[in-house]
């Protein structure tokens, strides 16, 4: 049977990161998987809910988990922030008494909770029929905080040197470079409150990727993407930042309208054209 997912896009994928939403749907459908958006989903609360209120931080994601369990499908979550919130909620609900407490707050008891997957996890296991190999493009795969930590949240990934995206990229014909900043923090949601800090943290990451010889960065998080992309506006020799699903879509031979590569601040077109892998 074809794989089927309950899809939780989260707020970013409907706004700043529409290209991640569109490319994820396109890639999964090209691979014959059924992705159905959870109806009436609400914001998971991101960093603000867990920053300020313990119960609220569980109630918002639990609402989504409950909806997916009614669809009897595992949840596919492209945003690493939402992914982490949902996964940490699953773990938290296993602590004694928590499931009852949250179910009571929600007004209905929580049933069997669904599995939660990031596209990296789903694609790691998948056969990808490569139509347009990525021509040895040197990529630095950036996992950020939330695709590597904490221990046991992303199954099968090493905390200090995760490999999931690197392996996928190698299978697409790209050349992932080893580098030391795979899981350094980019500054998360500090754009409004601490922009200088965010720019400093993000630029360090870009610099390290450049030092390692990368021609592009590959990410699985709209927050990381926004920060790394934004931090390079107006800098010389910037590195384009691709979403994992855009890279997979390129290799699958999907049309430009499924990849939306022109929405980034730093255009990936020159690099892709140079390698002969621009589909336009």
């Amino acid at each position: 049977m074809a794989k089927a997912f309950a899809y939780y896009p989260g707020c970013s994928l409907h706004a700043t990161a529409r290209e991640y939403d569109v490319s994820t749907r396109a890639v999964f459908s090209a691979l014959g998987m059924d992705v159905k958006e959870i109806e009436g989903w609400v914001c998971c609360g991101a960093s603000s809910a867990h920053s300020t209120d313990h119960l609220l931080a569980l109630v918002l994601p639990a609402h989504e988990l409950q909806a997916a369990s009614e669809m009897e499908r595992p949840v596919l979550v492209p945003c690493a922030m939402c992914y982490s919130r949902l996964k940490l909620t699953l773990l938290e609900l296993e602590r004694p008494g928590k499931k009852e407490e949250v179910g009571k707050a929600l007004g209905k008891p929580l049933g069997k909770m669904p599995a939660v997957l990031h596209p990296m996890e789903a694609l790691r296991e998948e056969e990808i029929p490569v139509k347009r190999p990525l021509g040895g493009l040197k990529v630095a795969c950036y996992y950020g905080c939330l695709l590597a930590r904490p221990q046991g949240v992303v199954p099968g990934e090493d905390l200090e040197n995760p490999q999931g995206m690197d392996r996928i990229m190698a299978r697409l014909g790209a050349q992932p470079v080893p580098w030391p900043f795979k899981n350094e923090c980019c500054g998360a949601s500090m754009f409004l409150a601490k922009k200088d800090l965010l720019l400093r943290l993000s630029r360090r990451i870009v610099f390290q990727a450049q030092e390692a010889g990368a021609e592009a960065l590959v990410v699985g998080c709209p927050m990381c993407h926004f920060n790394l992309d934004l931090a390079q506006r107006g800098t010389e020799h910037p590195l384009p930042v691709l979403y994992l699903t855009q890279a997979v879509g390129l290799a699958l031979g999907l049309p430009p309208s499924d990849l939306m590569l022109k929405r980034h601040f730093i255009s990936p077109l020159p690099v892709l054209k140079g390698k002969g892998i621009w589909p336009g």
Partner: protein, 181 residues
């Protein structure tokens, strides 16, 4: 530390350990957390000294520290602590505690950001960058600071003019509030 008179509160550590489920008392002050922390340079205490403050029951120092607000919850400290303390979780617990007790946040800008973000998703169900950015700019009396970035985002269609709505998160906030007491 600010005050010369240090008033330790012996229950503080115990309460915090119960609330967070983490054994702060087993911290050996190795400093691996602070050494790994991406924001350490601008923190007053940083994770290691914050753990020490909790161990010693220095409630005011702990709850008033800017470390609670600057922490990005990147979890590097938690993943590297040799004593397996989930340091980020302890910091989070301290922040919830500080909010509950009405301690003045040591970083007002970050606290304001979180408040606005939550108010927005309570009202709309989903986040809306333009509204959030505008409200933040007005309330900090610096409405122009991020104008260039928002302009660039609008040009690429990254932020819609009209917010998206989802019913249902207002009631969830209500429920959490009621259940939280």
């Amino acid at each position: 530390m600010k005050s010369l008179v240090i008033i330790p509160s012996p229950d503080f550590r115990r309460e915090l350990e119960t609330e967070s489920g983490e054994r702060v008392s087993s911290c050996i002050q190795c400093g691996k957390c602070s050494g790994s922390c991406p924001v350490f340079a601008i923190m007053d205490l940083g994770p290691r000294r914050l753990m020490r403050a909790v161990q010693l029951g220095l409630r005011e120092e702990a709850l008033g520290s800017n470390t609670l607000w600057l922490c990005l919850f990147c979890m590097t400290c938690s993943s590297r602590c040799p004593m397996k303390i989930d340091v980020a979780r302890v910091i989070e617990t301290l922040r919830h505690r500080a909010i509950k007790e009405g301690v003045r946040p040591a970083d007002r800008e970050i606290a304001l950001f979180h408040r606005l973000f939550l108010a927005e998703i309570e009202a709309l169900g989903r986040a809306y960058e333009l509204g959030l950015g505008g409200a933040y700019g007005l309330l900090t009396l610096r409405p122009w600071t991020n104008l260039r970035e928002f302009g660039a985002m609008l040009r690429r269609g990254k932020v819609p003019f009209i917010p998206e709505r989802a019913a249902g998160s207002g009631p969830l906030f209500e429920k959490a509030r009621k259940a939280g007491g």
